[in-house]
Symmetry: C2
Subunit: 117 residues, 2 copies
């Protein structure tokens, strides 16, 4: 049965690879990755996001200038066609993975839920 379990997991991996969501994401990544200006802008954007997230996690203050800089970067990347498409496709992929996780984790959620009665 455990062997069957892993077989089904590999089937799901394969189905994810063949999904529209994943193929669109691959295409978007390729377009941004092969355009140096887009790639640099996207990486800068992700760096700024990461820095702000880390400051928030550590309870550090985020200045007005940092907030405005992040807003400007969001505006810039949203106007850039291939980056905007990439972020949209990341979002769709993320929602799909979230839905798959909900399905797969259902047995445990039911079990833990029953413990708290």
């Amino acid at each position: 049965m455990a062997v069957n379990l892993y077989d089904v997991a590999y089937d799901l991996e394969k189905a994810i690879r063949e999904s529209d969501e994943f193929k669109s994401l691959q295409q978007s990544y390729s377009e941004v990755n092969t355009d140096p200006a887009a790639k640099t802008m996207f990486e800068n954007f992700r760096d700024v996001q990461m820095q702000l997230q880390q400051k928030q996690m550590m309870g550090e203050e985020i200045s007005q200038e940092e907030v405005e800089k992040a807003q400007q970067m969001v505006g810039l990347v949203q106007q850039h066609a291939s980056i905007s498409k990439l972020m949209e496709n990341e979002q769709r992929m993320s929602m799909l993975i979230g839905e798959l996780n909900k399905i797969i984790m259902k047995p445990l959620e039911e079990l833990y839920g029953s413990m708290e009665q």
Copy 2:
């Protein structure tokens, strides 16, 4: 294809429910849940764990007394047969879920990995 993707996810959910790991975990939960002394001890233990984790996340100091209390609780629950079995089965289930997640997330990890070249 998307429909197929969800079908495979439901197959995996079913395979998890029927796995030895999940059935053993269900059994352990039931044994602890129906023994009031064990259930109380286990819930107290989880509460203490959660409190320490939250203090660490917030960068708060954890006192020597709190460390020793947590150690004593670990010792107590490890000597309690049904709680010890439950924690062992939770660990096995957690490792299984971790392995399934690695398989399912492989396409995305490869894609993100290629972006960083």
